[in-house]
Subunit: 194 residues, 2 copies
DNA sequence: AAATTATGTTAACTTAGTTTAACATTTTAA
DNA sequence: TTAAAATGTTAAACTAAGTTAACATAATTT
């Protein structure tokens, strides 16, 4: 059970005692998934909030016309979950699929309250994590409202080079909110420009 | 000092004792602002996270071309703040301006830690508030990625009729990420359709 | 090594949304 | 109560982005 990356990550926010760490470790689940498998599916209740040890996921919404809209990618040291579904235990809006073989630490819904009670520091920790996620979401929203597709691509490429290298281009296009053909055009424009 | 609406709101999430309530009340600030004034400005550090007692604010980003992009409106019983600036005490990305004379309960940055220490329940409370805000932000993002401007307008109109009635139409357009002329066209289309 | 399957490119055409500008209406201030 | 300022409408010309479809290349599988 590779849990070191999670403990290291938590330690950046709060300091756990040995007992607290042991309790935490006893409550979470280490698991591997294969490329293509699903962690969560639109309509189902999302039972886990997960920390990625290795690998990669995409979180996407499938609209009525069957079009995929990618909300986010998660790689090492990031979280993946359908927050709305997980927190309210309601049917998920999103699908989460593995883009690579992936190792996760899974936090089951029914141990979360227990963790908060036994380790109040984790309440603080998760508050801070969610604050960060909210801020990132707001900033992405403003980029989508104020920037052209070309500038959004340039921003993505500069900000997440590790992600761009690992995933097919048509998924980047979906994340940016444009078609794969249009992203292809943008990239060829950028090549001839410089 | 009208603080009842805030206490009622908090009580939906956690139960405070009389001492805790008194401590909280002693730490926050009640204040009125006039229409047109600013609570926060792009570039300044946001010193307060605020709960709206009455009135209305808009939170917007001003881009390099001087165009306003409205991120959110806040009315009674909602929060307003530049989260990123407030939490990290870094220069704000957003402006927050009052659209009406507005009454607020202000949480100063330098009392927040104190509040968490003295009233651990508030850590839980704010975690839950931010979870809700994050979920709403994610859902708005997916609407912006997957719906046409017309459908986004219909959704807004149906979801926030109280807001649409209080603010000028060109601000609704900005919130939806379209021009006021295009929103005007959409509305006249909707009138002739039904 | 050949054959699929998945991914990426290009170009012609269409559509959603923007720009500009002129005018109409409503609200606010003098 | 009239003028000025703020807000809303319309339409023509334009642009960013989507659609379709044919083809090219890379990655897997047999």
């Amino acid at each position: 059970m590779k849990i070191e990356p999670l403990l290291k990550y938590i330690n950046k926010y709060v300091s756990l005692t040995q007992e607290e760490t042991d309790f935490l470790v006893s409550k979470v689940i280490y698991r591997k998934y294969l490329k293509g498998q699903y962690l969560a599916q639109q309509g189902d209740v999302c039972k886990y909030s997960c920390f990625v040890i290795s690998g990669c996921t995409k979180t996407f919404y499938m609209d009525e016309e069957g079009q995929e809209h990618i909300m986010m990618f998660s790689i090492e040291d990031w979280w993946t979950s359908d927050m709305s579904s997980f927190i309210n235990q309601t049917p998920a809006d999103f699908n989460i699929q593995f883009l690579e073989n992936t190792e996760l630490i899974m936090f089951p819904y029914d141990v979360i309250e227990d963790l908060y009670l036994q380790i109040p520091k984790l309440e603080r920790f998760f508050r801070q994590i969610i604050e960060k996620a909210f801020i990132a979401s707001q900033k992405r929203l403003v980029r989508n409202l104020s920037m052209t597709a070309k500038d959004r691509y340039i921003y993505f490429r500069d900000q997440y080079p590790q992600i761009e290298q690992r995933i097919p281009q048509y998924m980047v296009a979906s994340y940016l909110g444009i078609t794969k053909e249009f992203l292809s055009k943008i990239k060829s424009q950028l090549l001839t420009e410089d």
